[in-house]
């Protein structure tokens, strides 16, 4: 597959070209691109696992991205501990809601795309450049979105030009929209966004921002059956990624557990979560 009969590097590898791994695959091995496969007929949306809610929020000097751990298949819980938040490269994070199989494949391809560019060019893409590559990737997936296998990613990263975090959302046609402060995608996103709206402040610390993300995921799980809340029995908690000037870091399990336990204890007092500080 990767070399011809003599073992020599195939001509395509030695042909000068662009720095995009996706473009290279399109020319040399198009069947490896997720959007190039021909699918059968019909709506597959209830036959394959779907990931659900992702939230992202910025804080001074960085951005946080968190995802619940549930994947559903129609009314069935397909997986309890799926991971939907990933580092895209050292300074950005990507998460997906929607068809889990294609979502994970898309994330992998996106990671290779960014790394490939970095190695060939000896420089990293700008944050907007990365966001645009993700657009192109989603656009290639449009035929599958038409059959119910939609993948909606959320992309966030640290932008050295503004010394802070930025968030980008997408639609299934590849449309790219920059969001201010916070955003959420997936089936529970409406509820999560409502919670974010009430809890978010621009001057949150990293830890407080993580708490806000956890609270909004708990609210999403409260009202959306497809979103998994913190699993207190199995101790399965949201995946939280933080991107700052020091790069991508996944919050350690015990740190997340402490934040979740605190939020959970609070909900014993008030099941709807923290109330807004004032009405005016």
């Amino acid at each position: 597959m990767t070399s011809d009969a003599s073992g020599r590097l195939p001509e395509a590898f030695l042909t000068p070209g662009g720095s995009s791994f996706m473009d290279f695959l399109a020319g040399h091995a198009p069947d490896l691109l997720p959007g190039r496969r021909s699918l059968g007929q019909g709506d597959l949306s209830s036959e394959v696992p779907h990931g659900t809610t992702i939230v992202a929020a910025t804080f001074p000097g960085g951005v946080i991205m968190a995802g619940d751990r549930r994947a559903t298949m129609g009314n069935i819980i397909a997986q309890r501990d799926i991971e939907k938040v990933f580092p895209a490269d050292e300074y950005s994070a990507v998460a997906f809601a929607g068809s889990a199989g294609f979502g994970i494949e898309m994330v992998r391809l996106f990671q290779v795309e960014l790394e490939h560019y970095e190695k060939l060019e000896g420089a990293t893409l700008s944050l907007d450049g990365k966001a645009n590559r993700l657009s192109a990737l989603i656009r290639g997936n449009l035929p599958m979105a038409m059959q119910g296998l939609t993948v909606v990613p959320l992309f966030a990263g640290y932008d050295p030009d503004i010394k802070g975090g930025r968030i980008f959302s997408y639609d299934p046609t590849g449309g790219r929209y920059e969001e201010t402060h916070f955003y959420s995608v997936g089936s529970g996103s409406l509820f999560a966004r409502g919670a974010l709206k009430k809890l978010y402040r621009e001057d949150l610390s990293e830890t407080d921002c993580a708490t806000v993300a956890i609270q909004s995921l708990i609210d999403a799980a409260d009202d959306d059956s497809a979103t998994g809340g913190p699993d207190m029995l199995r101790r399965i908690f949201p995946v939280i990624g933080v991107v700052t000037v020091d790069g991508y870091r996944r919050l350690p399990e015990d740190e997340v557990a402490a934040l979740v336990d605190a939020a959970w204890a609070q909900r014993h007092e008030r099941p709807d979560g923290p109330a807004a500080a004032s009405l005016t």
Binding site: R8, F13, L14, H28, E90
Partner: protein, 283 residues
């Protein structure tokens, strides 16, 4: 009417080899050196943009000398091969051996085909493992021959002279600063006169197995290079216990034979090896 000359296959291959060798020797040397925590690459390279050393994949790097456009093309092919394998199988399935093989076949095929000019390049594919014993360095020459190297490898320029210097002073399990000092000294010992190489004339990178990231390749910037070099300068060498057994043996031994070197000011340019009148190294 001209009669084509008969050229024996031996002569033909010899001519092609001479052609490639001459091109490679014209350049400056590059060194790969195993140290305790990985593999160090040091190349004499005055261009900050045109690299001789580059990342291929998580645990693999590439170093080359010779014609830039030719080895750059090979590097890109290597990155494509590695990324494609990693994407279609798994990151752990990308191995230096497979890449070295593909390079060897490619170089060999080009060298022995009548239609193509032999590539004037020599390349190294290095891969770090869990420990020093698992590290791999493959050295590939213009004709596709491949050698599995232990310890260190030198190519380009006056490679034999530089390799000889390293051979005299290299010890296994050398520290990073010791290895760097040794490599820089060795690059300066490539001719009749010992040269002082400064950090802006060097390209330095490591495959560092202690890095927490999946990708172990890291370039060492000019500033931190200058810092490391001034720390491990022969003048203060005896005090740094990290360097025991490597440069302190070699360099301070030499320096004590000659005049006592004057300690340089802290902000001085990186230190050249001490000049030794008794140095009877073949020139």
């Amino acid at each position: 009417m001209s009669v084509p000359f008969y050229v024996s296959p031996e002569q033909l291959m010899r001519d092609r080899a001479d052609f490639a060798r001459k091109g490679i020797a014209k350049g400056r040397s590059a060194i790969a050196l195993q140290y305790a925590d990985g593999i160090l690459f040091v190349a004499e390279n005055r261009s900050p943009a045109l690299h001789k050393v580059a990342e291929i994949y998580d645990r693999m790097a590439f170093a080359a000398v010779g014609r830039y456009n030719e080895f750059e093309n090979l590097r890109i092919a290597g990155v494509r091969l590695a990324d494609m394998r990693g994407y279609s199988y798994d990151r752990r399935d990308v191995t230096g051996r497979a890449l070295a093989n593909a390079y060897a076949q490619t170089l060999g095929a080009i060298f022995s085909s009548g239609g193509e000019k032999p590539l004037e390049v020599e390349i190294l594919v290095a891969e770090i493992g869990a420990g020093v014993a698992d590290d791999q360095i493959y050295r590939l020459t213009y004709d596709g021959s491949i050698a599995d190297v232990r310890g260190y490898a030198v190519m380009g320029g006056a490679a034999d002279t530089v390799a000889e210097y390293i051979g005299e002073h290299y010890t296994e399990g050398i520290s990073l600063s010791g290895a760097l000092r040794l490599a820089v000294d060795a690059l300066g010992h490539d001719g009749t006169e010992v040269r002082e190489l400064t950090s802006d004339q060097l390209e330095v990178a490591v495959l560092d197995r202690t890095r927490t990231q999946v990708r172990k390749f890291k370039r060492i910037s000019e500033e931190s290079l200058a810092g490391i070099l001034s720390e491990s300068s022969p003048a203060v060498d005896e005090k740094t216990d990290a360097d025991v057994g490597d440069s302190s043996d070699s360099d301070s031994g030499e320096s004590s034979a000659g005049d006592t070197p004057v300690a340089p000011p802290a902000d001085d340019a990186p230190i050249a090896p001490p000049e030794d009148p008794d140095d009877d190294r073949p020139l």
